[in-house]
């Protein structure tokens, strides 16, 4: 249990460094530290599938982020936005934080989730019937690829749409210019 708190505090410290450091490359590396800390956290929370996905996505995301930050001359941008706007945002964020802390008190105790106390919860049905319904010993797989397969289809659609968007944005020359080099 103490390991959870150590990892969470590590992630919070890495996030503070990522936000406050001046060098963009250091900030990107700190975000990578948060991601890998989160992956360890998922492993300790008994979610091995998420931990593996998180590591793969983390490596790819770091490559993308480093591609954006490396070999840019102007990676040192210091200072925040104008003073009044910053103060107003910080005050609003502080109020949101206090409100969220009040909500944290109403949540169930960590380690005693709501679904375990309710036999009619959907998760209980998945755990009890998942193997016999779908034939997958991993219940996460049976939900991901059988009970909620349309979710996965939508995820693939969103992913490919994002890839199409990124390709369209990054393409350096338009088709019109390729046909007519005078433009």
């Amino acid at each position: 249990m103490a390991l959870f708190y150590i990892l969470l505090i590590f992630m919070v410290i890495a996030a503070i460094i990522a936000v406050e450091t001046k060098d963009l490359l250091s900030a990107v590396i700190c975000v990578g530290a948060i991601g890998f800390g989160g992956s360890l956290m998922f492993l300790l929370l008994r979610a091995p599938d998420i931990a593996m996905t998180q590591i793969v996505v983390e490596v790819l995301g770091l490559v993308i982020l480093i591609r954006a930050t490396i070999s840019r001359d102007l990676t040192f941008i210091s200072g925040d936005r104008e003073f009044f706007g910053t103060v107003a945002s910080v005050v609003i964020l502080f109020l949101v934080f206090m409100a969220g802390m009040r909500i944290c008190d109403t949540l169930p105790e960590f380690g005693e989730p709501v679904f375990a106390q309710r036999p009619e919860a959907a998760s209980q049905a998945y755990i009890a019937k998942g193997l016999n319904d779908t034939g997958a010993t991993n219940i996460v797989t049976s939900i991901y690829l059988d009970y909620r397969a349309y979710d996965t289809l939508g995820e693939a659609t969103v992913l490919f749409t994002a890839v199409i968007g990124a390709t369209a944005i990054l393409r350096s020359r338009s088709r019109k210019r390729l046909e007519d080099p005078e433009l």
């Binding site: 900030a27 219940i139 996460v140």
Partner: protein, 122 residues
């Protein structure tokens, strides 16, 4: 306490996305928020002393198709895990899109500073 630390992580990401004027810093803030939300959803389903939702061979009786009760009582919640799996993959796609917008803006304006990019106004 664990939820509060997770919420603090979210608020740090939100602060980064709202206050900073470097485009890549804003993207990093959004990424930190994604991590915090994913972690929070998984933590909501954690059972103290629980096991991963994977049934072992010894816990399944093939003849009666019955699953051992020690798995039924100790398994963590599989539903948020399946949905967070979707969320993590989508966050990679949105990260690629945001970073490509940043690279394109840098190529056009020569800076990541959003206060310098005046012509972006509609």
């Amino acid at each position: 306490m664990a939820y509060a630390l997770c919420f603090l992580l979210f608020m740090i990401g939100l602060y980064c996305a709202v206050v900073k004027k470097n485009m890549v810093k804003i993207v990093l803030g959004i990424v930190i928020m994604e991590y915090a939300v994913n972690l929070f959803l998984i933590m909501l389903g954690y059972v103290k002393g629980g096991v991963a939702p994977i049934i072992e061979r010894s816990q399944y009786d093939g003849a009666t198709k019955a699953i051992a009760s020690e798995f039924l009582n100790a398994s963590v919640d599989p539903l948020p895990q399946a949905l967070v799996l979707t969320s993590i993959v989508i966050s990679l796609g949105s990260l690629a899109l945001m970073i490509s917008i940043c690279i394109r803006t840098y190529a056009k304006y020569g800076t990541f500073d959003i206060t310098e990019i005046r012509r972006l106004r509609g």
